[in-house]
Symmetry: C2
Subunit: 169 residues, 2 copies
C-alpha cells in the first residue's frame, strides 16, 4: 500500500489542547498494541536517531510508565501514569522531566476504518495556552512524523500482532 499518511495537527481555539489524527495500514487492535507493548513502543516512539529505553512500564489502568530517549549523548526522560487502558482508548499523563511541573493529560483512541486501515486520535490537554503553544513551537511534529513512519514500517514488516489478546501478553 502506497498511501501517503500524514499527521494532522490541530491547535484547539478555545481550550489548550493539541489534537493529532493519523491513519495507519493497521487494525485498531494493532494500534492498541503499538501503544501498550513495551518493546514495540520503544521501537517506534520519537524522532529518527533517538534510542529509547523503557525503564518502567505497566500499561494497565492505574499503572505507570517512564522512558529515556538518547540522541548524540543527550538524554530526554519522560514519565506518566495510566489513568485508563482499554482496547479502544488510553488516558495517561505525560511529563518531560526537563520541565517536571508541566503535566499534560493525553487521550488516545483507536478507530477501525475498514479496508485494513485504522485511525489514531490523540488529544493532549495542557493547563495553559502558554504551555500548549510552547509544545507546538518545539518542533514536536518532526518527532511525531518520524515516529509514526517507524510504526508504519513495523506494521508493513508484520511485526505487530493484530489481536487485543496479543497486546495483553
Amino acid at each position: 500500500m502506497n498511501t501517503t499518511m500524514t499527521t494532522a495537527i490541530e491547535a484547539d481555539a478555545t481550550v489548550p489542547i493539541i489534537r493529532l489524527t493519523r491513519d495507519f495500514a493497521a487494525t485498531a487492535a494493532q494500534l492498541f498494541r503499538a501503544h501498550t507493548d513495551r518493546d514495540v513502543f520503544a521501537r517506534w516512539v520519537g524522532p529518527d536517531g533517538m534510542t529509547t529505553t523503557v525503564d518502567r512500564w505497566d500499561a494497565t489502568t492505574g499503572g505507570s510508565w517512564r522512558y529515556v530517549a538518547v540522541r548524540d549523548g543527550r538524554e530526554f526522560a519522560f514519565h506518566g501514569c495510566f489513568h485508563e487502558v482499554r482496547p479502544d482508548r488510553i488516558v495517561q499523563t505525560f511529563t518531560w522531566e526537563g520541565d517536571p511541573d508541566e503535566v499534560a493529560l493525553e487521550t488516545l483512541s483507536f478507530e477501525d476504518l475498514g479496508d485494513g486501515r485504522a485511525r489514531l486520535h490523540t488529544q493532549s490537554l495542557c493547563d495553559s495556552f502558554e504551555s500548549r503553544d510552547a509544545w507546538l513551537r518545539s518542533g514536536m511534529e518532526v518527532g511525531v512524523d518520524e515516529g509514526y513512519a517507524k510504526l508504519d514500517a513495523l506494521l508493513a514488516a508484520g511485526e505487530i500482532a493484530g489481536t487485543v489478546e496479543g497486546a495483553r501478553e
Copy 2:
C-alpha cells in the same frame, strides 16, 4: 482557634479550570498526610452523611487510587492515578465512574503560612468548558465545604500527625 476558614472557588476565565483555596490550622506536612494517608483521607473526604471506603490506594508517584462513597444506599465511585506525589505537591487524575470518559487532571499544593496555618491550593483541569461548568453546577461546593470541615475537626482533635515522615509510614 476560632478563625472561620472558608473555601474560595474560582472558575478560570480562559481555560477550563476550577481552583480552590482553603486555609487550615495545620502544617503543610499535615495537609500532605491528609491527602496521602488512606485511613485519614477516608475520614474527611466528601459531604456529611457519606461513608467512604478506599479500595485501592498507593499514594506514590506512579501509583493509583479508587474509593466508593455511600449515602442512603446510593454508591458513588471514583478512581485515578497519581502522576506525582511529593511533600509540597500532588498531581493526579480524577474520574467519577458515573461518567467514566470524563477525566480531570488535579494539582494540589500545600503551602505553610506560619502561625500554625497552611494553605491548600487545588486546580482541576477539564478538557472542555462544558465539563468544567457541569462540575460547578453539580453542588460540589457542599461536599468540598463539609469535607474540609471534617478535616478541620480531625486536625483540632490532634488526629493527623504533622511530619512528612509520618505520612510515608
